[in-house]
């Protein structure tokens, strides 16, 4: 019997990386820095793109890459919410993980050049936006004013505290607004939900692009607020999350209408989202 030929390599098989740093962001979020065992990033990632992280043998999960630091490492900020992330949160520096990607379209960083930027995030939703925010700071001259609005349930739940309280507010032409859902002792900042705070700050839509990510309910209400504030559907960008298995538009489950979030998204303009069924 003739030998069958293997006719191509497979994008579903992960490469190996090593965890080189772990940062405790909140009681249930850690940021993992990973690089190839021989050094360097496993692949180059554009802001907003995704990668599948494997904890062997437990499982695989799709995460946005919250930053690529040159050719040194990738950063993933990951919340502990289930079987695989529980396991991931127990690993220590030196642990080998599987990773495959990059997947998805990423943010339109080129198209946004010359614009003022408004970033709106809730909870772990800052993780994907962080890659775009840091990209803007790295290419500061290419973008106008930067406004960042970030909200969480409590102070303890705020991710990237060094950046949101120290680094980012000191950047040129940058305003950072932080809010938490409920009053708590020691918190003197704003209290309230993100969409309401957004309307209070009310950044003008003129020459500005809004990028929003968070829990689905926050995105839905935030989109309404932006509309009320005069943002057109082309000026609003969001990044969606669905359950994913393959990452390459084949396994089926992450469809919204005829689009696959892993391949055609996760980033969509509101104009594109409105053409899709509201099933996300």
């Amino acid at each position: 019997m003739a030998e069958a030929k293997c006719t191509c390599s497979n994008p579903l098989v992960p490469g190996l990386v090593e965890v080189v740093n772990i940062i405790d962001e909140t009681p249930d979020v850690k940021t993992f820095y990973v690089r190839k065992p021989e050094g360097g990033v496993p692949f180059n990632v554009r802001p907003g793109q995704l990668a599948m992280v494997s904890v062997l043998p437990t499982g695989e999960g799709m995460f946005s890459v919250s930053w690529q630091e040159e050719n040194d490492h990738l950063e993933f900020a990951i919340r502990r919410v289930g079987l695989m992330t529980d396991e991931l949160h127990t690993v220590e520096i030196g642990q080998k993980l599987g990773v495959r990607g990059p997947y998805g379209n990423g943010f339109p960083v080129e198209e946004c050049k010359g614009q003022d930027m408004l970033f709106i995030a809730g909870g772990i939703g800052l993780a994907p936006l962080r890659s775009f925010i840091k990209y803007c700071f790295k290419h500061r001259e290419d973008y106008g004013k930067i406004t960042i609005l970030y909200g969480c349930r409590s102070y303890a739940d705020l991710c990237f505290k060094d950046e949101i309280f120290e680094t980012w507010p000191q950047m040129k032409d940058t305003e950072v607004y932080i809010t938490i859902d409920r009053e708590e002792a020691g918190w003197e900042g704003h209290v309230g939900f993100v969409p309401a705070y957004l309307e209070e700050i009310n950044p003008s839509p003129k020459g500005r692009v809004a990028v929003i990510c968070g829990p689905p309910i926050m995105i839905k209400l935030g989109l309404k607020s932006l509309e009320k504030m005069g943002y057109t559907d082309q000026q609003v960008i969001s990044t969606l999350e669905m359950r994913m298995k393959c990452g390459i538009g084949k396994c089926g489950r992450c469809n919204v209408g005829s689009e696959f979030i892993c391949l055609d998204g996760p980033v969509f303009t509101l104009e594109q989202l409105k053409k899709l069924p509201p099933e996300w």
Partner: protein
Amino acid sequence: MKILSKQKLTAAFDQLAEKAELLVPMQKGATSAFLPWPEFEPGRDELRLEALNVDKPPKDAVLPQTERMYKFSASGPEVAVQEVYEISSPRIVFGIRPCDFRGIECLDQVFLTRGYADGFYQSRRDNTVFIAQACYQPGPNCFCNAMGVDPVKPQADVTIHDLGDGYAWEPLTPKGEETTEMISDLLQEKKADLPEVKPFTRQVAYAGLAEKLKDLFEHPIWEKLSDPCQNCGICTYSCPTCYCFDIQVKSFGEAGYRFRCWDSCMYREYTLMAGGHNPREASRERFRNRFLHKLQFFQERYGQPLCIGCGRCLIVCPAGISIVNIMQELKEVE
């Protein structure tokens, strides 16, 4: 025209099975499926070349129900991964019907286009020869013509036409020519007339429906249509075009393998996220997504519906749900 006499059929099977794994339509116990010819036992099993559709569609020839992807070992911080290809030999699928072959073409669209070629699928597909059998007498549940399939002109590697005492043998691709060579001593050159195509008994209203469905997403009719559905998933497993898969792990201590397996959009877990959010929590939402995927979404993405009119789901659904009736109701609703 090349003719393979039915008297020489098993000789042809023997010859083809020497060169490749030959899958033929066969009744084995309660189920009919495309199964390896060497496993055929006269008296116990029955060849089902006359069957318009065997129970199990032949999609597993290119998309097995479970398929290993890679092996791994994980010992403390150290991890190793090694790719696995389970495919061991070239295959010939003999007697696939034109609807089922269109199903394979749908899978080709999914697995081989749009940015990524799936290596596991591509390997199987490249190593598989499809010999399709034209249909001249549509069955009571057949409606392939309404879904854009020509029942006598499948674009497979070889098409065969049942002439009564033999099969007209028509190679259409280089792979088909190569396969024809394997049994050239059994083929005769003769003049023959192909049969007349008998009319379809089922009339199905698909034309124009994909366009109309764009405005029916929120329509209350989905409540009524989905009401009988038990979300059992049998329609998805018996469908020649349903391709959704899950990726799962099997581990034995420190070693194991990751594999993929057929999944079903009928199940709640299919879209359930670790945080608890589920965009298709309700049975009605999963039902709607399945039919819109078949009739609208796939059409929008790939230019053809993801239903090929084989009629299997009409037969197997325990609730008697019929995609034919659903199309009719959607077509009529305002």
